[in-house]
Amino acid sequence: MAPDKSQQSDGYLYFPGCSLKATGIAYEESLLTLFRLLELPLKELTDWNCCGATTYMGSDQRQAFLLASRNLSLARQAGGASIVAPCNACYLTLRKTMDYAAKYPEVGREVHQYLDSVHLPTLDEPVTVRHPLEVLYTDVGLERLKAGVVRTWAGGPVACYYGCQAVRPYSDVDRDSNPMRMDEMLNAVGVKTVPYALKTKCCGASHTGTIREVGVRLSYILVREAARQGAKAIVTICPLCQFNLDLFQTDMRKTDPALQPVPVLYVTQVLAWMLGAAAKDLGVQRCVAGADAIRGWFSAEKGALSHV
């Protein structure tokens, strides 16, 4: 099936994945709000399924590839030459499937046999897998973000945390070492960022659900270092990162009672707020750590339309 170019100019095909409909729903709310504000239509992929997930990739790679390939094929069927996956794990799984299917004939063969058997288009025409961070940086750009700012940031400097999967092993979203695009975009809308050496270190991933002390320990290192660098909040681009860093701060405090709550936000929440969105459309009330502080930052008086 030939790619329908008009579909692309009309908007973006959006692959939510499981998190953005559940634990990470604040990410979806703020993402949709932000894209609406920027007049970038986001259209949810019809009949999508589990992305294949990084954990599944580790136990049954073939099944994971097939799951991911169905989503990619649906995108192709919908006429999309690209798909936007906001969750880092979805992004990586889809990206890896596309890459492996093209690079390794045995993977490509399995994927295509499977797609044929369910009467879906094969992946001979590639589907570009994109992350919103890269879409915002490339398609919107710093200038446009800067021009749209209507508020001042009340929350103090933040630490940008990119997570492990967005820039490795593929570095299309940003460079693999010390990525800066999120920092640049936040700086552009008037939010200061601190140097943060742990930007791409492991957040604990699903260990918080299996071997909790290992997972929490890793999250703790990230939260404490952000605070140590003077950050008042951590800004993320992945639902699992946000979940781990935010929800386990009570556990962290058991071993380090001195640890102060550090709010953990999505970049889409902060950007949309600075561009004038209403707090109720950003899901900020769903963030747990430092909830009072967050409420203050995202209140109409605090973020008063300063220079308009």
Partner: protein, 663 residues
Amino acid sequence: MSERNGSVRIGVYVCHCGFNIASVIDVEAVAQASLALPGVVVARDYKYMCSEPGQTLIENDIREHRLNRIVVAACSPLLHEETFRSAAARAGINRFRVQMVNVREHGAWVHEDSAAATEKANDLVRAAVARVHFHKELDPKRVPINSNVLVVGAGIAGIHAAITVANSGKRVYLVEREPTIGGNMAKYDKTFPTLDCAACILTPKMNAVRSHPNITMWTYSEVAEVEGYVGNYKVKVRRKPRYIKEDLCVGCLHCVDACVFKDPRFPDDFNMGMDKRKPIYLPFAQATPKVVVIDPEACIQLKTGKCKQACAAACERGGVSFDMTEEIKEIEVGSIIVATGFAPFDATQAPEYGYGVYPNVYTTMEIERLVNASGPTGGHVVMRDGTTPKSIGVIYCVGSRDERHNRWCSRVCCMTALKLSHLLKEHTNAEVYNFYIDMRAAGKGYEEFYQRILNERVHFIRGKVAEVCDWALDPSEEGKLVIRVEDTLTGFVRRVPVDMVVLAIGLEPRADAQEVRRIMNMSCSTEGFFLEKHPKLAPAPTYTDGVFIAGCCQGPKDIPDTVMQSGYAAAEAMALADIGYFEIEPNTASVIEEDCSGCRSCVDLCAYHAITFNEVKRKAEINPVLCKGCGVCVASCPSGSIRQDLFEDEEIFGEIEGILARV
């Protein structure tokens, strides 16, 4: 076909090469079969055709049977073509009426089926016999050689080559880009494995260059253009203005003292930017020539024209000249030795090690200056934050053996790091941790040096460092640089907090290597180092006759290897100069003028710039000295007006007919 060249009398000689050929190919049968071919008068097989008796056999046959063409079925012509051509010449046949058939590399060594291999040998011999019918009597061309030698780059490689050539009585032009000769070696503190001071062994050679009657030394100069060919290169050298009259300056430095900048404030390149200098400066105390230079980017007079010119006033000899301009020197040389050196790997390209982010991360090049008595701190190891390190981590293979950067081993970094570990320990008594992947101590006395350092209470941790960071996990790490590494000998991931980190950076081609390559008409290997003619047997000559390479521009190497290679390059240049002429294989192409339509399609195709277009005659012309006989122009000429000796149409068609004439 045989009668075109008069009475053709061919001898065919099939070599056994011991068992090399004879164990697979029935050499006797091949010789026998060739007797039936037109023109073949005599055919023999022999155990070692290249041996003295083998050659004598051929020579005797030539005389006895009045042979005028020879076919030898043996090994690759690269090995013994010259042997058999000489034998033929001694017996009175033109050396180019010999044709070799490779039945070893192309036959016995690559086939297992004896019968088929023998049949193939028969085919090839038939082809050679048919071809040699048409071989003309040719004479190799001779080109006179100018005995002058140009040496480009005056680090240890260029210095050693220049002195060697000059000692043989030839005129040497030594061109160096920097204001002083000495190169990278001048920056080093001590040299491994003997720990003798680099300056002590280098400066006498720098002096020898300066005072040598046969060496013309041009510093602060670059080769702008090279034209011509082996033995006859015309070179333009651009002498940049140093705004100081070299013949007047005595290096008293009164001008430097007088400069309107009371304090040095511009980064001092010689000290890797860790110190400051004034706009007018001497690069270092033993700079050769001992002549100051003015930096046009920093000097107020040169930037704005509005300075009181205190330096000029302070010079009693009137040596300062602000209106000096670039000067072009034209010289003629017979050969060129390129010794342009390396560039140290840019450590900011490996951001995980924090160079440029954390002030106390250094490169090995910087440490060389930091431990040096004439360095920015007078040899005291004091870090950028003013403190003395109590613990130091040395990270090996930075930028080398890494798919993200350079795949090659830079060869010198292990030893450099060991040497600096020793010196840092000696200067600071700090705990020194070496993080290495493999210890490469291959060189005379190197392994012994490694063993010595192992016994100096220096720590060794085997593992590729993941990152250098400043995030502390516990109070002992606060304020330290933490080296994260998997210790592959114990199987643990470790965090080693240190005060100072030293990155053993690798060697890579200089940024302008491609530009130099173009000027010299050389090739580069894939990684960008200049390409030698043969990696083992001709590591200094290049594919351009009369252009030689020496030192790290050909690939990373230590000082002993550099000196050996530059001596070898010098010997090659001297051999050319001494014999006085260069003999060219007459397999070159030439234009049949009356047929040339002047379309110029051949001109750009020639990889050797051997073809020019004569605007008056409107015809292409081929310089036989530059022509390498590749045949591209011959094949591409739309009007068929280019021919090539030893590859005439009739010779090639003869060969094809021969190979297809299996009965």
